[in-house]
């Protein structure tokens, strides 16, 4: 967009305008205390001051709360930040999470006061740490398949958020971040290139200098975030751009992004092969949105293909207990299609981080070796596989579906129905067999104290199976028992891992999922590892403050057990014994009381519970609480893994 002279907001111009409209401000100045009355901060010892001036009449009135506010002329009739909030609202963004900061006071004031009703879609969410704010957005995006906003305060807010930004980047999750920049307030909070702090692990950033450019940048940040490879984006907004009066600015019309799809020839070919195959197989990885999951189900049903899912590893994949999901009646597949997963005869996978890293990581930090050849690419191919087609599977699905519908003959339809029925029967049997194995694995230690992690998942399942639920926390450190004991049939059933393996993720991700859940009559389960919670536990307060339906069940093994095992092994290798491996790896002396911690943040809860027979009743109370919209914590003392 061309730069608008009308809305260009240089610092000097802004200040000049402010000075010109200072009539009201002059009135305000007369109502403040005399300068000498405020001079006690000069460094002089109060005791050496011979006398303190008596308060003025106005000061006394102000103290008594009966002062009449000065009559000021409003010079700002339409702050630019109102337009920004409107643009964000128009994009359907529901929430903006932030820890307060002076650099975005203009923006925050608009978020909470602009609109009718104000502070609704988007609603301002109070975070106690920027890392929590961004991870909330991370969890929300994984649950809903769309971004929310995190607002950051200058250099310090961005650096507080850095770990969470990195995690969202590595997890390829869309997050739109806005950062305030007030160059004339606190020097340490500003920078010449603020976005440069995190550029290597964000997808896109901008620092617009005009209101028009800022509105365009918000649209682009949203589009970049939701376009593969999905990722966090950042718009730095100066105080002036936020606050300037913008009576004549119009929000530009929003143009949705274009997703790269397979071409029509490829779509025809895939449809033909799916229909010609006697036993086609569709493997579904992680799609972008719930709509993509619906399309994947539609295609699988149309062609009667047995289907693989990633629903037990993360969100937005094929329903785990759909009749077609499983190995099917015959594992001799004669045609395979991969949707956001490689290794098939036809694989459609969106671009990975390697696609954007060279332009973003200009200082060659090379996080995770993404820049190195062969890293950050596609999964290794299997026999009979072809190199993946780089396109967005979700956006390509309608093309394949249309082609299948066009090519489908009545004979094929009858054969597909018969095949689907055989798959359904075989998958049901496979499910029961897998479940029996999982149950047999959960049975040992069922009565153990401390409580087995399997028992936590097993006892939870009957209480939530008829609810609309979301497991927001990673389950890998607690045995992953949900994978078989639970049924992951919704796009948000399980939100998967941290992204980059960084701790401090579970609780804030669950709070983000809780934001998504609240208005949707859904409940969120957070099986919370103890070490992970201690990074930024203040997010518990956010859950209470915003009345989020999040049930936290502590997997309290009083240690960082993975690291404990590593040190035990290392000590063994070096022949020094394992007795001291607890040093630095355990959370004892004292034990942390998590229900007291939760109570401090206003969260109801109970525990510690180490008697397994008391667990179910506690979980029942917890589920009842979150169904009322009141977050709850159960501190379960657990077996290590």
């Amino acid at each position: 967009m061309a730069k608008s002279q009308k809305t260009s907001v240089g610092r000097r111009g802004f200040l000049k305008n402010a000075a010109a409209s200072a009539a009201g401000a002059a009135a305000l100045a007369t109502s403040t205390a005399p300068a000498e009355a405020q001079s006690t901060g000069s460094g002089r010892d109060a005791a050496s001051t011979p006398s303190v001036p008596a308060p003025t009449e106005k000061q006394l009135a102000r103290e008594a709360g009966s002062i009449q506010p000065p009559v000021a002329v409003r010079s700002i009739t339409r702050p630019a930040s109102d337009l920004m909030v409107q643009a964000i609202r128009d994009l359907g963004i529901e929430f903006a999470a932030a820890n307060p900061g002076s650099s975005f006071e203009g923006l925050q004031e608009s978020f909470i006061n602009y609109g009718d009703p104000p502070n609704v879609k988007p609603e301002w969410i109070t975070a106690l740490h920027e890392e929590s704010a961004v991870t909330m957005a991370h969890g929300y995006a994984k649950a809903e398949g769309k971004p929310m906003v995190a607002v950051l305060h200058g250099t310090i807010g961005i650096q507080h958020a850095a770990m969470s930004i990195y995690q969202a980047y590595y997890d390829r999750v869309p997050v739109v971040m806005l950062a305030g920049n007030d160059v004339d307030f606190i020097p340490a909070h500003t920078a010449h290139d603020m976005a440069g702090l995190v550029r290597s692990y964000t997808k896109w950033d901008a620092e617009p200098q005009t209101v028009d450019a800022a509105l365009t940048a918000i649209h682009r940040a949203y589009n970049e975030a939701i376009t593969p490879p999905l990722g966090p984006t950042l718009v730095v907004l100066s105080s002036e751009v936020q606050k300037v009066n913008s009576p004549n600015v119009r929000i530009p019309s929003y143009t949705p992004p274009q997703f790269t799809t397979i071409d029509s020839t490829t779509a025809k070919e895939i449809a033909k092969n799916l229909l010609a195959a006697q036993n086609p197989r569709i493997a579904v990885g992680r799609l972008r949105t719930p709509e993509g999951v619906e399309r994947a189900v539609e295609l699988a049903e149309l062609v009667g293909a047995s289907t693989g899912t990633a629903a037990t590893q993360g969100p937005m994949s094929f329903p785990q207990r759909h009749a077609l999901c499983g190995p099917g009646a015959d594992k001799g597949y004669d045609y395979t299609l991969g949707l956001e997963t490689g290794g098939a005869q036809a694989s459609i996978t969106g671009p990975g981080l390697a696609k954007i890293a060279p332009t973003r990581d200009t200082t060659n930090i090379d996080f995770g070796g993404i820049l190195r050849p062969g890293r950050g690419g596609f999964a290794p191919s299997r026999e009979k596989s072809a190199p993946p087609v780089e396109a967005d599977a979700e956006a390509s699905l309608p093309l394949i579906i249309d082609e299948v519908k066009r090519q489908l003959t009545p004979e094929q339809k009858a054969r597909i129905q018969e095949r689907a029925a055989r798959h359904a029967s075989a998958n049901h049997d496979a499910h029961v067999a897998a479940l029996e194995q999982a149950v047999e694995k959960a049975r040992p230690g069922w009565n153990s104290s401390p409580i087995s992690t399997a028992r936590i998942y097993a006892e939870l399942w009957p209480l939530i199976m008829n609810e609309d639920w979301c497991l927001a926390s990673p389950s890998n450190f607690s045995g992953g028992h949900n994978a078989q004991l639970w049924e992951h049939n919704k796009p948000y059933s399980y939100l998967g891992g941290q992204g980059a393996g960084g701790m401090g993720y579970g609780a804030p991700a669950a709070v983000g999922a809780g934001l998504a859940a609240k208005a949707r009559n859904r409940i969120v389960i957070n099986v919370q590892t103890d070490g992970d919670l201690n990074y930024a536990p203040g997010v518990l307060w956010s859950a209470v403050h915003h009345k989020l339906p999040v049930l936290t069940v502590m997997h309290n093994n009083r240690a960082w057990h993975q690291e404990y095992m590593f040190i035990q092994y290392m000590a063994g290798v070096r022949g020094r014994g394992a007795e001291r491996a607890i040093i630095g790896n355990t959370l004892r002396d004292p034990f942390i009381d998590y229900t007291k911690m939760a109570a401090g943040y206003g969260m109801a809860g109970e525990g510690p519970i180490s008697d397994p027979t008391k667990l179910q009743a506690a979980l029942r109370r917890g589920v009842a609480s979150v169904k009322r919209g009141e977050p709850y914590m159960i501190d379960a003392i657990t077996q290590p893994r």
Binding site: E436, E440, P450, S452, A458, E459, W461, A578, Q639
Partner: protein, 150 residues
């Protein structure tokens, strides 16, 4: 000749083991292998203290039934004291490139034979405490619900 006889006996022994192997492997895999009955000479009370101070529970659970490598029903290298001690001494003594959560090595200097036998004595006190499935209504109901799913 003595050696030859020894070899002959060894061969017979291997055949017997091989015949029983499929059953044994299966039992180990499904966690139903019977507990060893070999003699125990160590002191289980001392062994319990060692089990905690060495952090064995980190991988094997507080009762040997849970975690990454439960003992109960999968006795593996716990058939007798000698095998157990040999196993402890035979773990890796070269640092891996990447961190490992595998079974650590316990040299004789850090865990003398007597203490190792105490540890073994404590491990041998572990028993299967998991009730039969029919006595765990929660698990039974989960399987039952799946069986009747349409």
């Amino acid at each position: 000749m003595k050696n030859a006889i020894g070899d002959w006996r060894l061969a017979i022994g291997c055949l017997v083991l091989a015949a029983g192997l499929p059953w044994a492997v299966n039992a180990q895999q499904n966690g139903s292998a019977p507990a060893p009955t070999s003699p125990v000479t160590g002191n289980a009370t001392s062994g319990k203290a060692l089990y905690y101070s060495y952090g064995c529970y980190a991988c094997h659970g507080y009762g040997g039934e849970t975690g990454a490598r439960p003992f109960v029903g999968r006795w593996g290298h716990l058939a007798n004291e000698r095998e157990f001690v040999t196993f402890l001494r035979g773990r890796a003594n070269v640092a891996p490139v990447i961190p490992s959560g595998s079974m650590p090595n316990f040299s004789v200097e850090t865990l003398p034979d007597k203490r190792a036998k105490d540890l073994y004595a404590y491990i041998r006190t572990f028993k299967s405490t998991g009730p039969p499935l029919k006595d765990i209504p929660t698990l039974d109901a989960i399987v039952d619900a799946a069986k009747h799913e349409k």
